[in-house]
Symmetry: D3
Subunit: 297 residues, 6 copies
């Protein structure tokens, strides 16, 4: 390449680095803390999976009589790795320019410890999810196959982790963890949603479950299902008001078939069955079956 040609680079770099051009998209953080690391969060999720499903993920040796050593060292590593990411999450949203960062250090470690103590409960919930997958898919041949290879478990694992973190008021990190699953599986569950035990999301691509959804036990959801907002109130500036309840509540034992769209704060009663591609913006009584009319000409 002609080196003469390269001298345009100086001018371009100078343009790209001027304050005016930078201002809107330049992250200048307050405490010189690095951004949360997406790679580290991937690693954290993979270590959590090794703790939650011993023998399936992580080292082959974990199947041996020394499983407690592996779990112990994984939990200890997680305590260190995740505390750091939690702290970076707090720094990302922090505006207190005069505050000493050390305040966040202890808070992050405390929150991380609280989170880790939820692992037995998370494992219990995921066990019910795995069983629900086996019972819900005639093509599966064992619970182990569900755990090892179904997108439903991947998405729910990340969701259940992210949900516990959001309950502990950790910023940004839960969102990144659920986006990791969204990217890998096409299933987009907001960490703020509440999902009961024995959930199964078959195939899953295109599923969206919004921030203020509440879903009961033993619910089965197929690909392309949206549990979304119908509309959202605007504030005096015409912007959506943040954090308002705007998503469906789904009872126990409900099945929602592929492509169904359920919008707004509607109630889907226990054991209801929502047909594929239907569009629902009102309450559905318990036990009822909503089917799309045959709309072919």
């Amino acid at each position: 390449m002609n080196n003469e040609n390269r001298y345009f680079i100086k001018e371009l770099a100078s343009t790209l680095a001027t304050h005016e051009v930078l201002s809107s998209l330049y992250h200048q953080d307050v405490h010189s803390t690095p951004m949360p690391s997406v790679e580290k969060l991937k690693l954290i999720v993979s270590k959590l999976r090794a703790v939650l499903f011993p023998g399936y993920f992580g080292l082959a040796s974990m199947r041996s009589g020394s499983v407690e050593f592996y779990i112990g060292s994984l939990v200890d590593e997680l305590y260190e790795l995740l505390s750091i990411q939690i702290q970076r999450g707090f720094c990302f949203i922090c505006n207190e320019r005069n505050e000493q960062c050390r305040v966040c250090d202890d808070k992050s470690a405390d929150i991380c410890r609280e989170f880790l103590q939820k692992l037995p409960a998370i494992r219990h919930l995921l066990a019910t999810d795995a069983m629900a997958g086996y019972e819900g898919d005639p093509a599966s041949f064992s619970v182990g196959e569900i755990i090892f290879s179904y997108p439903s478990i991947k998405a729910l694992t990340n969701y259940r982790i992210a949900h516990e973190l959001i309950k502990l008021d950790v910023p940004l990190i839960p969102r990144i963890i659920s986006e990791l699953a969204h990217s890998e599986t096409g299933i987009d569950i907001h960490p703020g949603a509440v999902i009961g035990e024995s959930c199964f999301i078959d195939h899953g691509t295109g599923v969206v479950i919004g921030e203020t959804c509440r879903i009961g036990k033993n619910v089965r959801i197929y690909q392309g299902v949206t549990l979304g907002a119908k509309s959202f109130p605007l504030d005096e500036n015409g912007n959506p008001i943040k954090g308002i309840d705007r998503h469906p509540k789904v009872g126990n034992d409900v099945i929602i078939y592929a492509g169904a769209t359920i919008l707004g704060t509607v109630m889907i009663g226990d054991a209801a069955e929502i047909g594929g591609n239907v569009w629902i913006t009102r309450d559905v009584p318990a036990g009822s079956k909503v089917r799309a009319q045959s709309f072919e000409k």
Copy 2:
């Protein structure tokens, strides 16, 4: 971080490693064989792609006069790598605690050899799929572009590999291979489905093709199409009966537009055209066009 705080880890690890908590989610395999390796299966698929599409994938040198050396060494490596994964698949489902594992060794190598001998036929099919993509997408400018960058070919390559493996009764491995493509492309084809030559799946995100589907030659499918089960019979315990025929049969020269849902063991006749977003649960005659009614208010 305060080391004092760490002592909670001992208690937590102990809780997480107790038999009761472990029992449901702990994979204790019988023959101390490691789990199948998803990373190795990714590697195997990438080497298979280099064999199937020489010059497109793998080493640059493969475009030279020495292509047979590369193919020979790749096939030999694949024989070794894939045999091991097949054996791990068998071990994963094995319950014969007294049997010597060596039985599976020979069986896995034999099956792998049978699979490899299908490669010329798989390549022939994929050549027709690539041509179908070129002919089916006005935005494409060459067959080479389809092979090198379209998700349709990625998904069908994994499917055609996985389908041959499932025909040889290999457990778990075909499922993982098709999930790899599902995660990468959003196209979820069960390895048990039967798909004829010259298939093209445009855009593809959200497509689901179920286990007992049969699809003819020269079929074009768009994003968000489901070929699924309408319902599945339950056994005396209320669980779905495994392995029953429950998916559509699609004839030759059929086009299925975006978002269409076809459920149950229905027949879609040759050269039928299924409109976008339609919902079909009954047979469609050959040559007919099914369009959604205009349902805007």
Copy 3:
């Protein structure tokens, strides 16, 4: 494994390397140039993201007072890395067997330089997209969160890069860059489409935006929306004619809800609102709201 068994490999490799079997799927390029590298293009996109959003991506130090050094060296590296990939794109489609490859060298460097000079404009557009995400999603809490973790920005960043490259007539490379985003986010935007400022694509899985779409400013699109072709005219051989206008034109301030399908060269007027799951093949007047009828039985 029994070495005797391996001798079948010789025969198989020989079969797989014969000219007849190879012919359809063997890429024999003219100038011995390697294929474009998908891995290098991933790297290029990640370096472009570091230039476009300083402080969010790339090195932690970039938040410091020395941001111009980083931008300068990144731009210089990009000039080298991207020029090579552009040249490989030209070689991929080249048929001039007698031409000296050096012609492409200079052309590729020139094009790359022109592209790099678009970076300030691309950054300006992405700033409006990020703001649109913040204003359009009640669940988001800051513009920074949108930039760092929302699939909308990932998809639009790749699109806006690829779009500038396709305007410079670079072959294949723009397509690969948009496929990278499609695989990661489920959002499939053809690099030829024209999209105005302040675009937001929420959740996004399954969104398809076709080659000849034109989309105005301040448009919001939800998951599963298709802006596609209704049909495409065939040439005398029955193949689709390439490059014809066949996709929707969308005005400013339009909202398109989840699962809507808009096909053909229709006009969606300014400030129109298209309801979820609707199917549109005709013009929609400005300011109107198109909702699906309630089609539950």
Copy 4:
């Protein structure tokens, strides 16, 4: 590159693969076991270092209250990793074409277990070596500095590991482990040598300690020292007879300065001091000082 030119490769490959050319340098192993892995042995040594010197090597967390989890999981991993390498060592020298390989499996695991039970004793010896380094080098400022950065400890760690393995009759593996240290430090200690506690080898480059050396406690050795064979008896074919005692015996509290050469089965008495560059082929009495004459002109 001109593809025409490539056709010489076929002929060359054919020449290089013919049996006659291959015969002398082709490793055709009996049981299709792979060669020992030098990379895995590097990993094994680094994990052993983490067990032997907790807090210095391996994970940062190992400094915490959960050190027993880390040591437990490292030992368990080492049991698996090292057993495999030991088995490959046995296969490398095995000629029993009819034997079932499984015999080696159990034997290798048993030997590995015996080796691991030597780790507390190895750690005790290395603690004395580290202290000897601190006391022997005026330039060092702490025992920790010796452990973390001195070549003496690296070489002695590998030696003490390899020595325990050779006592268990493991073939090849001890040799590779000592060559790893030789390459890294320039210190070449045969794993068969016997070296007492509190050994320190300062600088170390060029030190050679032969197979049948015996070295007492508290010995200090400088760079370029050879403890070698003077000559070795030949068998009837004129080849050296393997395994005969042919190296020096060094007492306790001996110092050997840089470049000294001591050859044959001589005895260096307790507390002797051997000057730099001297050449010794006879016994040296306890407590004596052997200095080179001043041989400058």
Copy 5:
């Protein structure tokens, strides 16, 4: 492997983790700071080489007109990376249990900045060393070859870096940097030594240059040369006293041939020539030639 066999691991891990066994070799640091990272220090040295010898090491683009961008971003990265390692060096030797670690933060950054400001001077010295290599080795054909491939420059680069750091009282880090070169080249230069400009160390394996050496300008040294201590005074406990002057002073324009050993605080006068393998423990006048007598029988 038999899982039953694994239960010995529990007992072994417990033994290896008991306080008594751990005590001597367990690094329990005071401020929970990780150990210095040898891998990061390798990276730091390679980035320093790219700054010191632009165009030889680091990115190919650095040969272009944008060299100041690369140097600027490298220096900025080095400021961050090296400050952290310096701080870890201070923590490694710190015993102040009550002190806040933040004290070290600022101090480390200050020292790092002082060090970086020495880079122009270090580059000047290395330029003279490279020229000395070209003039001193009849087998070399250009200065560039010396810079790119001679161990002399590698060893002197690490030494000159480490020497500036030790002058700034940085603990441990200089030692690790010189050990990196020792391992790679076999040349062991203590960072405390003082070496003038235009130094050339040919071949170099086995060279040792002690802590309190002072070497003039334009000195050439061959492999196996030791500039060491003759003896070191003991304190009342019989341990060597740390930090006392005990190594040779070498004048300008001196040549020291292979294998020579010079011990103690002797003076080697300007332009002296020390023959191979000689042993020197007294002053050598300027301009004299010291040769070994012919000592062959």
Copy 6:
């Protein structure tokens, strides 16, 4: 870290990038060709080892009946990889600013092909070296052990490769290849030296064999041996004249023990035996034994 502190970096980078400071150490190449890649040359050497010693290095599968595929593909890759490095070597020393680089392309490929055709002869020589190691070291138990783990074979493999390249007038690359072995083994053989078959260099650290040495068949050399120049004539400017014969000639069946130094263009007659640590600057008759006098006081 305080961002304020970072502003010194701008000034420092500016100083380090000024022309005057750069001039002596800045590699500004003529044809914008990158420097030779040390990493690629490592890879090339490892692939050459896999071709030269099939079954010992490279893929496990190479032990199978398909060895010709592996050798064929390795040779083809080597043709590509090594041609590029050879060309970069030519560019490194090129001063013809007006010449088209394409001249070097063809020349480099031609030279690479000539080199590859020497591989059978190189393999033959290395087979004799391996046998010499087995016969020369009583501690070795098989030829395979020598090939797989002795530094002698590593150093001689790199030397025999580099020697063929230097005979083809390839600049710089042979030097780098021999430095790789020097760094790994401590054995420094100049690629210009001529070494006959059946060579064995035991332990090897510190061995130096100069550019114009000629060594016969069946020679055994121990650690620390120097075959060097006694002095070199200066030109009118006082610089050493390049390329003059200045090193020893060693006959067949010679043994040279540890630490011996042989300088100048002396002749060591066939079957001579040179004792450890001796210093030789005159001819040694065939069959004689040169021993150091006992020089202890």
